[in-house]
Amino acid sequence: MATEISRRSMLRYSVLGLGGAAVLGLAGCAPDGSSGPAATPGGAGTPTDFAFASWSLSEEAAKPAVQSALDAFAKSDGIAIDTSTYPYNEYLNQLTLQVRGGQFAGAAQLDVAWLSALAALGKLTDLSALAQGRGYTDAALGAGSLDGKQLGLPWTIGAVGLIGNAELFDKAGASLTPKTIEEFEDGLRALKGIGVIPYAASTKAAQLKDIVVWMQTFGSPIIEDGESTIGDEASVKAVEWYKKLYDDGLIAPDVDRAAARTLFAQGATALYDDAPVGKSSVVSQSPDASLGDKMTPIARPVLKSGDTPQHVLWGHLVVVVDGEGAATAADFAQWLTSDPQQSEAYFTELGLPPTTEAALASEAVSQNAFVEAFTSTVTSTAAPSPLWAYPSYAQMETAIAEQVQAVLIGQSSASQAMKTAGNAISGLL
């Protein structure tokens, strides 16, 4: 059976189809409707409804604390706050799409690493005026500033540091306060002797960005005068040292952050890298009810005595996207991150370090031995990763991770791999 359709008919249908596609394409390229005047933060005028985006609102542990803060602010101002939430791993992509598509204006929770990526869209409000006189620590304010503008107010600020199991260290006779790389390595060898994985360092590509802080420890600035320094002697030495730990069984293959937490929770490793936020996860999956008390923050060892321990900042900011409700959203961001009562309540419920001098000095913080120790030994010397200043920082971290992994599995030499990674990063700067 064959029924003929004329060429003319086909042409007509094709034109209709292409017309439809053109309409859709134009719609996709149309202005996004959010290019209005920038909001004026600072509480001028009557409070208005605004939107708030946060991944914490979908997390069982954090949601009640965040929701009660939203309810309290909305009630006091007699406004409504429209919330949206996405899983942490998808959050930046979703928020970027919404902001780029003109579908989101208001306050948003942001990981400190993501600031430049979101700022590149050009829609974040400068909150410098709101950052004054609130008592934020310099380190916390630094985490939210970019190119001289205060684009985010710090909500919780900590760092990623080494966390040890004091009981296992004690059993092995290893030092919980190693000063230098050599002392640290001696401790790892002692830990190996008691049959645990000494250090659950990241060896899986997903988390191999952790090597950057070891490169800094060995003296590589990573970025200097706008140029990548990866491939220099220090970065190569750091990777060679990492490879030695790997070959000697002091670190294990296929470990990422989740695996490290699990190994630590099971008592299978004595040491891993994490931020304070990981503690509750580790404790909840451990059969050892007293593991929380054994978790001890350790200052990262240095290459030679007198060097400053290197730690990368970790934390959450609140940013404000220009548009409807942005002024009230900015007031909310300031209140949420620096109001004394609110800061203390948030810390008490979630154990996340606050960002103002007053809150850090409060009784609630000083009574939490883990956070107190973490803040003094790790966070005190933390700084943002030099790569975060660039919107394509994630691709840079991936380039490093892939090359370090090639070294670990013996496919490349450290010098060749770091040269390749450095070239890739130079292309992304």
């Binding site: 029924t3 149309a30 069982e60 949206s84 989740a258 099971q266 909840s284 999956q285």
Partner: protein, 297 residues
Amino acid sequence: MSTIAPAPPVLTSEDAAPPITRRRRGRIRWGMWISLAVIALFGFAPVYWLLVTSLTPTNLVFTFPPTLFPREISFDHYATVLGNPLIFGYLRNSVIVSVITAVLAVAVSMYMGYAFSKYRFAGRKSLMYFVLSSQMFPQALLLVTLYLVFAQFGLLNTYLALILSFTTFTLPLCVWMLKGFFDALPDDLIEAARIDGAGPWRIFHSIVFPLAAPGLVAAGLFAFVRGWNDFIFALTLAGPDRQTLPPGLVNTFISEASTSWPALMAASLIVSVPVCVAFILLQRYLVGGITAGAVKG
């Protein structure tokens, strides 16, 4: 002149295949059983592990070395999942959008597949490959375009946005599946109906449609499962009130610092039940060969 057909070759006992002895038959049977057991193990092991994890208390989930049977059994995770009203909201949304997507995809693709199979028109092959090539676009590319288009039309955070997007990426393969199915239907049958005076509409709905039922069910199930399992479109286009199960479960059980694996496993088992039921109820339609013998003589 008459021709004499050559006599068939005579097979001798040396030419014949060696007889299958009882012992050899037994070995073949054992081989089959072992192969089937390995395949079954491969298929069921993940489901078994899902079940075991969902029944294990949180602090024992990562016990090393892992055990085949849980040391302790806990139904707490099922209670957690069933006690969470959000899960039922996600389930409802998934059912609504997946069922409508399946119906819509089948309704459109059956006409397209039939036209591609039984009609001859200029550019038919090019159009067919164009439809298939649209399947090759990266989902992220389609997603951004759809997001902006739906935003312009005010369709974000609606069921319609999800249904249209799911149908968009389901349709090409459904069309090709059904085209293949219609190709297998004999033209003689359609020609006979035409000679009897039936028009194209009548031919399709009274003759082709019933015969194509297994193909339509298969395409519908394919579209249903694609819609049911989709994560990224649902996450981006659905908004908080229309979110389906995949993003909903991730949102509920996976957080920045940890994943509640046992609860996630329990939820996954619970929500896979409707799909299993659908397959069990419809499996007879999935078996081909219903059209065999439609034309005799």
